[in-house]
Amino acid sequence: MNIYADNAATTKVSKTALDAMLPCFAEAYGNPSSPHHIGQEAAKLLMAARETVAGYIGAEPSEVLFTSGGSESDNQAIITAAVLGARRGKKHLVSTKFEHHAVLHTLKKLEKEGFLLTLLDVHEDGLVRLEELEAALRPDTALVTVMYANNEIGTIQPIKEIGAICREKGVLFHTDAVQAAGHLPINVKDQNIDMLSLSAHKFCGPKGAGVFFVRKGIAITSLIEGGAQERGKRAGTENVPAIVGMAAAFKEACDNIAENTPKIRALRDKLIDGILKMDEVILNGDREKRLPGNVNVSIKGIEGESLLLMLDHVGICGSSGSACTSGSLDPSHVLLAIGLVHEVAHGSLRLSLDENNTEEEIDYILEKLPPIVERLRSMSPVWKKMKEGK
C-alpha cells in the first residue's frame, strides 16, 4: 500500500487543475504581453485566473499579483511594508517565533539592515495571544506578519482579530496563508488583511505559482525588475499554465471546503486518537484550533528520520522536524518555539492528510506505526534511560 500523508509539503495536482493547464502548453501558448491573437488568448486565461482567485479571497482582481509561490510572496510583502515604513521612520516589525523561514529569514535580513524585530511567543499550544500582540505594537511599528496556519503543527491563528488590532493602530498586516488557502475560508475584507501570500501546490495546484494579495492603496516594492508584467510590480513572463492550474485548483478546493473539511477532520481525529494510544507520545499544537488534515506528534525515545525511513519502507510518506531531515543539526524551530526540548523535537512525526486519503489508509498507518516505534525504541538508549528513570 502506498500512502501519501505529506500534503503539507506538497499535494498531488488535481485532475481539474491538470485539465485546465494542458491547453496552455500547446494551444494558448502565447505570451500574454503580445498583442496578437495567440498572445491575447493567453492574456484572457490569465485575466480569468486573476478574477477567479480574487473572487475566492474577497479581493479585486487588481489586488492580485501572481508570483512564483509562497516564499516570493512572503518576501515581497515584508519588503513592501519595510520600504513603506522606513519612509515614515517606522522600522519596527512584529511577527512570531514559528513563522515559515521565508518570513523569518526576510525579517532577520532586515534586522541586520537596522530594522527592529519583535517575535511573539506562540506558547505550548502554538497560538499567538492577542494581548501580547497588542502590547508589542509601538508607534514605529511598520508591519505585523502572522501566519494563518502553521506549516508544521497546523495551528490556526486568530487572523481576523489580529487584523482588527492592526487596523485600529494603523499598522500593515500581512498573513502567510500558504497552509490555509484552499483548506480554510479566506476573505481579506472580513479578516482585515492588507497583504496575503498563498501557494498553488498546497491545494492540488502545480508548483511554481503563487499569489501576493495587496490591498488597493499600498505601494508595492518589486523584487524582480524588468518588464511591465503584473502592473510593473513583478517582472517576467507569466507562468500561464501554472497560474491557470492554480486558479482551477483554488476554485475546486474552495468550492469543496464545506464537504471535505468534516471528512478530513474525521480522518485526522482518528489518526491522532490512534497514535496517542501509544506510550509516551504527545500531540504538538492545539488539538481543536488546527488544520483539518494536520497531525503532528512527538514520539519520545526515537529519532524522526529513522522513523520516516521505516515508514517509507512500508509505503507511508510523512515528514519530521528532526535535525536529520532538515539538513542541519538543529531540530525544527517551530517545535522549539512551542517549548519542546531537543530530544523530543527530534522525535516528531507530521502526517498531513487531504481529501485523497481514506479511512483504510488511516487503519494501515495505525497498524504499521506501533511496531516500527517499538522496534526503534528497543534499540534506543534514550528510551531505555527514560523507562529506567521511572
Binding site: E305, S306, S322, L329
Partner: protein, 144 residues
C-alpha cells in the same frame, strides 16, 4: 534530503549486533540527544584481548543506526589492537559512502568504539595509547 547507499539501507533496516551485553568488558556512550544522536557500545573482550562479542544501542537517524551496525561488524572478532585503529573513514567507506551531512555519524561510531575500549583499559588499570583515545565532548567532530 540525500539518498543513502544500498548498504546503508541494508544496515539500517537489518542492523547487526543490536542489544546490550551483561557484564561487558567495556561500555562507551557518545553523542547527545540535543544533536539527535546517541550511541552506546558494549564490548566483550577475552583474556587474549580479542573482541568476542559486541552490541549497540542507538538513538538517531538512519545513518547513525547504520554506522553503529557497520562499526560493530568491523571490530567483532578482532584484537583490540586492531579495533582501536578503526576510523570513521573506514566505516563510511564500508557503507559505500555517506551523504556529507551524515559524516558526523561515522565519527560518532569511531568515537563510540574508542570510548568503549577506553573504558576497558580503565577498568583494567591500564593506559590506552594516547593516539587512539576518543576525542570526547569534541562537538566540532560533528562538523568535519
Amino acid at each position: 534530503m540525500m539518498m543513502y547507499s544500498e548498504k546503508v539501507m541494508d544496515h539500517f533496516t537489518n542492523p547487526r549486533n543490536v542489544g546490550e551485553i551483561d557484564g561487558a568488558s567495556g561500555v562507551g556512550e557518545v553523542g547527545n540527544a540535543k544533536c539527535g544522536d546517541i550511541m552506546k557500545i558494549f564490548l566483550k573482550i577475552d583474556d587474549d584481548g580479542v573482541i568476542t562479542d559486541v552490541k549497540f544501542n542507538t538513538f538517531g537517524c538512519g545513518a547513525a543506526i547504520a554506522t553503529s551496525s557497520m562499526a560493530t561488524e568491523m571490530i567483532k572478532g578482532k584484537h583490540i589492537e586492531d579495533a582501536m585503529k578503526l576510523t570513521n573513514k573506514a566505516v563510511a567507506q564500508a557503507l559505500d559512502g555517506l551523504p556529507p551531512v551524515k559524516l558526523h555519524c561515522s565519527v560518532l561510531a569511531e568515537e563510540g568504539v574508542r570510548t568503549a575500549l577506553l573504558d576497558y583499559f580503565t577498568r583494567r588499570g591500564e593506559e590506552m595509547p594516547e593516539e587512539y583515545k576518543p576525542r570526547h565532548e569534541d562537538c566540532d567532530a560533528c562538523f568535519i
